[in-house]
Symmetry: C2
Subunit: 364 residues, 2 copies
């Protein structure tokens, strides 16, 4: 409807002048510039994003490709990305892949026809976007992978310190006196999942504690998975005194299993999660967890992307954000079988026959 020609007519100038005013591409003298600006105001003109994109070979859209917006960890990531994008004049096109790399591919291929400025991708299972990314980059669009990375990903990335966070929370359990600690990992083909398991193993091995194979379970990142694997773990003899769940949904499943077996948390079992979703602190007992800065993850990715869009051609960057331990009521020292319980349901001691090593007690 309203186009540049209209503005030019109203302001009594030529098309080129309008364009120059709009894009600051050339100095336009004040009287004319003023007339153009007034014309723009008067009819609320906004340039066509389509025509502009077609002409410039690039739009102000950023494709945000994620597995599933209803996964409670992702909204914060999206929000972080959107805030940075919006305040820099960019918009987010949201695509859910359902962890299906075919759907992911479809999105990637179609998104390209919008000539987006870039892509922020949380890769789906088994995705190998190297080829796609190259194709985007040839078109001058940047691609940033976040949260987890495809195998052999060489491009820009923003992730969190999964291994470090997992190790830290495991060490905390060990310091409290736990020796039989089980882990319920997420799908191990996901890099973040695998890193968390690695961190767990590292902390255990540093402390000289054994990790029997049956103490390591793998499941999907959800409540039913956590419940099922917890039922299994809690029937083992000897029973673990603590479980590290690879995310809060799994931890939630563990809590349910604990409850349904009539066990107390943290009395009989300490539970820790990962993510620190909003509800973790609202549970009863409140859930100890490793906080992941979801908002920062998205915001950082967007900033990195915009740097690239603006011409930063430095080598690929791999930004790793810190996690943070959030200790809450769901963890406590293990109960010692050899001593009578001191309080109603909390007591601490090393079970007999346990090798006790002094932990290094790193303070940071």
């Amino acid at each position: 409807m309203a186009n540049m020609k209209e503005i030019a007519r109203i302001a009594g100038v030529s098309l080129g002048t309008v364009s120059n005013v709009l894009n600051g591409s050339a100095r336009v003298r004040d009287p004319l510039r003023r007339r153009v600006e007034e014309a723009v105001q008067s009819i609320g003109y906004q340039p066509s994003a389509l025509a502009r994109g077609l002409r410039r070979d690039k739009t102000n859209m950023i494709g945000m490709v994620i597995p599933d917006v209803t996964n409670p960890f992702f909204p914060a990531v999206i929000r972080g990305a959107e805030d940075v994008a919006f305040s820099n004049g960019y918009r987010l096109v949201l695509c859910n892949t359902d962890n299906d790399h075919v759907k992911e591919l479809a999105h990637l291929n179609e998104l390209r026809t919008y000539l987006p400025a870039g892509l922020i991708v949380i890769p789906s299972n088994f995705s190998d976007l190297t080829k796609q990314a190259e194709s985007y980059q040839r078109n001058g669009a940047a691609v940033v992978c976040i949260d987890r990375l495809p195998k052999r990903w060489q491009g820009d990335s923003v992730t969190v310190a999964n291994e470090h966070g997992a190790a830290a929370v495991t060490r905390h359990l060990i310091r409290l006196g736990h020796q039989r600690i089980a882990v319920i990992a997420g799908p191990l083909h996901l890099t973040n999942s695998e890193q968390r398991l690695r961190g767990f193993r590292r902390a255990m091995s540093e402390a000289g504690l054994p990790v029997p194979p049956e103490y390591v379970q793998e499941t999907s990142f959800d409540v039913p998975g956590g419940r099922a694997k917890a039922m299994l773990l809690l029937r083992l003899l000897p029973r673990p005194t603590a479980i590290f769940a690879a995310n809060d949904m799994i931890a939630m499943g563990v809590i349910e299993a604990t409850r349904s077996l009539g066990l107390q948390c943290p009395g009989d079992l300490s539970i820790v999660g990962f993510d620190d979703l909003e509800f973790a602190s609202l549970l009863n007992p409140s859930l100890a967890s490793v906080f992941q800065p979801g908002y920062q993850l998205g915001a950082t990715a967007a900033r990195l992307l915009l740097d690239r869009v603006r011409g930063d051609t430095s080598p690929a960057r791999h930004i790793v954000l810190e996690t943070e331990l959030r200790i809450r009521e769901s963890v406590a020292p293990p109960v010692d079988a050899s001593q009578p319980p001191q309080r109603r349901k909390a007591a601490t001691a090393s079970p007999p026959g346990t090798k006790k090593r002094t932990s290094t007690r790193r303070r940071s």
Copy 2:
């Protein structure tokens, strides 16, 4: 890079033929059609969404304008809309407004320059999008409002039966024997909030139960708000025996307040929420709530929108989705003063001077 001209060259046909094959706009004979299709396959050609949109005056984008993606109720709505949109070849552009109608306006104005097929809007506070919507509709784009409606909204809408759901859950409390029921409403300038309060009042008045002004609190839809108002309510004399929270976040705040005052739920206080977010069933005690079909809300809106896009010009439709009562552990009959307390520390008495009316006990 790859464009229609290229396809035409490879297939040895003219541009128009390619276009006709791609859009089915005219019957093309098999040999040629085949050649075109092969050419398209061979180089993985996809038409430029930009050029197509510019030419057709409409893209396959749908603007999804919501207050805040990190509000835990919205992701399901988004997902519902995205699924329907995607499977029909449409894409979602996500815009957070932070309930700021200035930001909302900015998004609306800018979104228009993409020539989206339509808009799905969860209006921000105090927004009056009538003018904006008209402008979109003049451009052939449809606008559907969901969840809550701007004042005087005349266009298509999809909402849930807020009043009915609130009345149903209130009646349930009444049937259990509660007489002193307080409500913590959401911001009353939001239509959904106001409807829930209305439903509550209706059920109470049907049962002939009084609703003292101090039993009606208003707050924002979040945990701190719920906690603060609950602290206030729980110090009143006589204390309410049940609280209806206008959403689950508020209910969560009520639970926290209850705990911090050393009261038992449901022993001393029954609590019900609204939304039935995923975590509601995971709390301890599990939270009774009124389920809102978030996914359906989004999916229905997208379907309605697509109907319009495809030329449905029937009068504005106002679709109202059913809610569903999810009774869980957080509700129980009130403890009667005339009987000895049954549990360890639930003891509540009707303070002297309370009018006791027999409830009408309606069954539905």
